[in-house]
């Protein structure tokens, strides 16, 4: 393992301290608890938006704390959900009297820890509501399994629910719009190389030099299959088709696009992917309202990318266009 870290056990704390040192005008850190909080929180009368999960996905989650997005983010260890007391502390930090929405990604650990935190918050008289993001079409959606994972589409939930909260929406309204995003967002990714969790010291899986994994999750969970590397256009076509068919997206739809890099994929390649996505959408007469290309939901130093499409209606379009000012997502 070759990494720019000090101690594996300390990497999350070190990162958060560095993040807060870089953006003191946006965020503050609750020491010991690894919570990044919007500097001016709690905002009186405004719904708080708390998300979080394992670390290693930067700028998710802490990088999206700020005006028009998250009010606080709980950082777990690398790829490990945060704990209930951490999440409870975040809820208390942001509670401005209007309730707190928890944005959870659909992983067993995250679900259980956020659920315990919500129970604890309720016991303390703070109203919370939760939404669970599950945009990854690589995984079969089934009642008998954990179901689909939450990946890059979560960033759209943060953005849009954050805009609704910023605009003074009630807890019910913020939850409702978050659910609308979840119902209309789909993603799929692929990996060229694995990543190494610092505490483990070695990759969780291996891929041959000429091999890729289609449908790979953001913690290195397996996807649908492995195959020999093909051209960017062929790979993008496969991912985008899966995403399109799932909702399904149809002629006349208006969408937002996110081409997300997993950590070690250069922007050059992400734009190559976007060229193909834009062409495919054009051919299907689906109009692109906004495109985001860059690193939003990474997986340490994994090479690879994901394609996310969000179907927009008038409300989502307006909320997506609303300003956001956070370390990792700025829109004016």
């Amino acid at each position: 393992m070759k990494k720019l870290i000090n101690l594996p056990e300390q990497v999350v704390e070190d990162m958060l301290e560095g993040m807060v040192a870089a953006y003191p005008e946006y965020i503050r850190l609750v020491p010991e608890l690894n919570i990044v909080v919007r500097k001016d929180a709690p905002m009186k009368g405004q719904v708080g938006l708390v998300s979080g999960g394992g670390s290693g996905h930067e700028p998710t989650h802490g990088g999206f704390v700020g005006k028009g997005m998250l009010t606080a983010a709980c950082a777990g260890d690398v790829f490990t959900s945060p704990t209930p007391d951490q999440i409870l502390a975040a809820i208390k930090e942001v509670d401005g009297g209007a309730g707190v929405l928890l944005v959870v990604k659909n992983y067993t650990g995250d679900i259980m820890n956020f659920e315990m935190a919500a129970e604890l918050a309720e016991a303390e008289g703070i109203e919370t509501a939760s939404v669970v993001v599950n945009d990854d079409v690589a995984v079969e959606d089934s009642l008998y399994t954990q179901g689909r994972r939450g990946i890059a589409g979560t960033v759209f939930v943060h953005k849009i629910a954050g805009a609704k909260a910023q605009a003074g929406g009630t807890l019910d309204e913020v939850k409702e719009v978050a659910e609308k995003v979840i119902a209309n967002v789909r993603s799929m990714g692929m990996a060229l190389t694995p990543c190494i969790v610092p505490a483990a010291g070695k990759p969780t899986f291996t891929l041959a030099e000429d091999e890729i994994e289609i449908g790979m999750g953001i913690h290195g969970e397996p996807g649908t299959h492995r195959e020999k590397i093909r051209t960017a256009d062929e790979i993008t076509e496969h991912l985008t088709k899966k995403v399109l068919e799932d909702l399904p997206f149809a002629e006349g739809d208006e969408v937002a696009v996110m081409i997300n890099g997993l950590g070690a994929t250069p922007l050059m390649e992400l734009f190559v992917i976007n060229k193909k996505v834009a062409k495919m959408l054009g051919e299907r007469k689906i109009s692109v309202v906004r495109t985001y290309v860059g690193e939003y939901m990474t997986s340490l130093e994994m090479a690879g990318a994901s394609v996310t499409l969000l179907k927009l209606d008038q409300e989502l379009k307006e909320l997506l266009a609303a300003p956001a000012d956070t370390p990792g997502f700025k829109q004016f």
Binding site: G54, G76, D77, F79, T80, S81, P82, T83, P84, D85, Q86, Y107, T108, G109, M112, N113, E115, M116, V139, E140, Y144, T145, Q146, R149, V197, A199, A200, T204, F205, G217, H219, G220, E221, P222
Partner: protein, 212 residues
């Protein structure tokens, strides 16, 4: 069996040591069908427990167990934190302010632990989780106690049942937790959580056997 609180504390420390010794093994199992952190998560939790237990010298059994649960919940994260945390919390709540544990408390505590895990994780037998080791173990313990066996003997039966449960997880497809993403590809691998449950029960049994 008449287990004092100080013996209970020693037993929990022994469990922690076995978890620490098996950190790499459990992580290895999790790397086959999960995200390669089960051993790391559990060792971190029991390390915190090890630091915490000495502060509880005068506590009753229920308080010790509840504190272990809270410590696991607040340090482990992941899936196993809330699951094992809830297990210890529920066992502690059920057992309450006793100064000495009898065979019946072992039964009550383990039943409460199992119920807590099932409630928190919504897993049923056959989902390839902790439940596949713990449920048969709890049933075997009950059966043995009903048949008039000693606590140590009954726990021995529970360990055997848990071990069989771990073996059984090799042949089933995961339906809960990260491993469920693998579908068929989870076949042939034993479940890390079921394995840690087996190791914990085995350590408890060995502890009881050593003292009798």
């Amino acid at each position: 069996m008449g287990l004092t609180v100080s013996e209970l504390t020693d037993m929990i420390q022994a469990v922690g040591k076995v978890i620490e010794d098996n950190k790499a093994f459990l992580t290895e199992l999790d790397s086959a069908i999960g995200d390669a952190d089960h051993g790391i998560n559990m060792a971190k939790g029991f390390h915190a427990v090890k630091e915490k237990l000495p502060t509880l010298a005068d506590a009753d059994a229920g308080t010790v167990l509840k504190t272990v649960g809270m410590t696991l919940v607040s340090t482990v994260g992941g899936a196993s934190g809330p699951l094992y945390g809830t297990a210890f919390l529920r066992a502690g709540m059920k057992i309450g302010n006793k100064e000495e544990l009898l065979a019946v408390d072992l039964d009550l505590g383990l039943v409460a632990a199992l119920e807590g895990i099932k409630q928190r994780g919504r897993a049923e037998p056959g989902d390839k989780t902790i439940v596949d080791a713990l449920q048969p173990a709890v049933m075997a313990l009950k059966e043995s106690l009903n048949a008039g066996k000693t606590a140590t003997e009954a726990l021995g039966a529970a360990v055997t049942a848990a071990e069989d449960g771990v073996e059984y997880t090799k042949g089933i497809i995961a339906r809960k937790g990260r491993a469920s993403y693998l579908g068929e590809r989870s076949l042939g691998h034993q479940d890390p959580g079921a394995t840690s449950t087996y190791l914990m029960l085995r350590t408890m049994q060995e502890f009881l056997a050593r003292r009798t």
